[in-house]
Symmetry: C2
Subunit: 425 residues, 2 copies
């Protein structure tokens, strides 16, 4: 028995990581951390109860913490980063839309696809028809895919249920999966205002009736379960006025706010996000400079989703433009069955570098700290600092600069969720 | 003992694949095959000695072949395709150029990078300095990466040696790896005319001396080892006249011909490829309609390499344009350390759909049959037909239409090389 095992000067760790070539902390203010990514060469990390206890050069590890009871992980010379924070996804749904995707690329018009009953409403039909067990099994497989590619926190939106029972089921799925061990952290968002449900499309007055349903029944019912309320504010979805009504009510019920804004045109959503002090405004393909200034002044994170541009063969939003106007940027997958079937944040980072004018450093910050901020979780996740959750990834290469450069593959060798090694099943 | 075990009416198989949801043969003329991809629903496949013996509906399998001595693989309901044929790569080199990549994206000019000694010559330096063992170990890891992502044939170019000894070493590496079991088939190409070596850049007359070296020493020396001769015909590399001299000599020595043509500008390479009857002309970003017509008439495959556009943040070549002019198209990765560090043909297919105006069917044909044709191997590989090599991939999904739609990940569950299950090490 070591006399100093419980010394207050050397707090006991239950987990420690050594053998790291470059510990990319994303915390440049840490002692010994270099550059905007806060890289500690030959860095080490100790954790207790799933939280980071200490970060620093490996040479200082044993002086800093008591490793007597610690599980040790030897990184074998690879680079280590915080886990990716994917702050915008729709991972709870049934069915897929591969056929629609290929018909669209073969030149079939949007109108024809809608006439065939394809599009978002086909996902709503499939999701409503699925049992909670089916939805949970599908979502679990997807969450494992996120983890395999290095994502440790996944925001998930409802919005394919669009009635009280189905939206409830989707939130229940996220709640149950959040309690399962060995999966990424789930942050649920209520997106009842994703699209007008089919049964509210016959009569023009139905729009208002559905918005009333969201405001009067759904929002109060889900206030304890969803951390955010989001609205798809776009032509063809919900107007600025409808979005304002929903989000103002959500705010009084304790939800933090998000907006799908300016994806397909100048929807006014970005301006509304700034007005309401939303946590994030997402997409922003068509945001004006004036709107970006409003977002910056209101402290709203701009979340860019290049997977949509990839899927829709559309121009990519400019990350450089947001940066130049001082908007805090997050990158996310927008994982969903219609416009971005991709759970790999490494490719999203590569797209940001290839097509959005971002440097790797900017893209990695946006994919970790930016995502954390877009979830109001910057004190919990997004960097490797004492007190934060021990969520990190080991690459299978010694240098994080392989990311974006070596693209289209999975460079993540292991994902650590709360100090536990994730095992792909 | 079964009396009919050696019946001529039921040839014995040593390998059989069942439980396939969709057998995508790429051979639409086969009986029961549907559509341009020749899909056989619930198809099965039998092989002997690494060659496909029979393809058809699973219900007919046992009547068609004798399975008494066959190893059985049960696909578990997934889709099966021919392995990808990656007909343009540079997988033998040492060093990497991640730092150069990121400096370029951070705005550092090409001239400044060259002044720092970066660019292709840095790969030449590293490759020359590497031992054959080192080069082989690096190349082996990369070949495993290709196999993991579903590629069963990989063309590989020399061109980072640029002197007799180093080019010899690179060809030796490919020759040795070609004899190792459990790796993709390797098709070696001699690309001595990749760039002017550093020791031939001082005096303008050095150019001709190097071209002479290629023609008089290298070409004869490598005639037994490399199947193709390729030239990088581009401003800054080799002129049309130099390329013609090299390729005409190569042809007399029995090489088939390839050309890096019209990647960065109107180099005239495409016209030369047609004139010489090259097997393929590769890149073609700047080929004119008239040049495409010449390629079509000469039966030259146009090989498109979207990984370069991704890496260089450049416009993508239009696959639709080649198709509309009747040029046979191949898709390949151009895997190399400078302009396309990607070994995943699935992403190349997705880029073709997202950014090059190709449908999934066109892209899959280009990535299999097209690649085979670009290697003069259309009778050997590229489709699932009796007599061809038993090279195929099992996806982890029942429908090949997940490709391009579900992007940025590896959908290949297993790769089969010559009837042997590839095992990632």
């Amino acid at each position: 028995m070591r006399p100093d095992a419980s010394s207050p000067h050397r707090p006991p760790a239950d987990w420690a990581l050594t053998g790291v070539s470059r510990l990319v902390t994303m915390a440049p203010h840490l002692p010994g951390a270099v550059g905007t990514l806060g890289v500690i060469a030959h860095g080490a990390l100790a954790a207790r109860a799933g939280r980071i206890l200490w970060v620093g050069p490996e040479a200082a590890l044993t002086e800093a913490v008591d490793l007597a009871g610690a599980t040790r992980l030897e990184a074998g010379g690879c680079a280590v980063l915080p886990g990716f924070v994917d702050s915008h996804t729709h991972f709870v749904f049934a069915g897929d839309r591969a056929e629609e995707f290929h018909l669209r690329h073969a030149g079939v018009s949007y109108e024809e696809l809608a006439r065939q009953g394809r599009g978002i409403l086909s996902t709503v039909r499939a999701t409503r028809a699925a049992s909670e067990e089916e939805l949970r099994a599908l979502a679990r497989v997807r969450l494992r895919g996120f983890a395999t590619h290095g994502t440790t926190t996944v925001e998930g939106k409802t919005g394919y249920g669009l009635d009280v029972a189905s939206e409830t089921r989707c939130l229940a799925v996220m709640g149950e999966l959040a309690r399962e061990p060995g999966l990424p952290t789930i942050i649920p968002t209520f997106l009842g205002a994703h699209t007008l449900p089919p049964e509210y499309r016959a009569d023009p007055r139905d729009r208002e009736r559905y918005v009333d349903l969201v405001i009067e029944e759904m929002l109060p019912a889900f206030a304890g379960q969803a951390r955010f309320c989001d609205v798809f504010c776009e032509r063809g979805a919900f107007t600025v006025e409808e979005a304002r009504r929903i989000l103002e009510r959500a705010r009084t019920l304790g939800y933090a706010l998000k907006l799908h804004a300016n994806q397909l045109g100048p929807s006014g959503g970005a301006r509304l996000a700034a007005e309401l002090g939303a946590t994030s405004a997402d997409h922003l393909d068509f945001a004006t400079d004036a709107e970006l200034d409003l977002l910056r002044e209101a402290g709203v994170v701009g979340t860019l989703l290049p997977g949509c541009s990839f899927t829709l063969s559309a121009p990519y939003p400019s990350g450089r433009r947001l940066r130049d106007r001082g908007v805090r940027v997050a990158l996310a997958t927008d994982f969903n069955p219609g416009t971005s079937y991709c759970e790999n944040m490494q490719l999203i980072v590569a797209l940001a570098v290839s097509a959005m004018g971002m440097t790797l450093e900017e893209a990695l910050i946006a994919a970790t700290r930016g995502g954390a901020r877009a979830l109001d979780l910057e004190r919990e996740i997004g960097s490797l600092e004492p007190g934060k959750r021990c969520d990190l990834v080991l690459l299978d290469t010694p240098d994080e600069r392989a990311l974006a450069y070596h693209f289209g593959v999975n460079l993540v060798a292991r994902t650590i969720l709360g100090g536990q090694v994730y095992t792909a099943l």
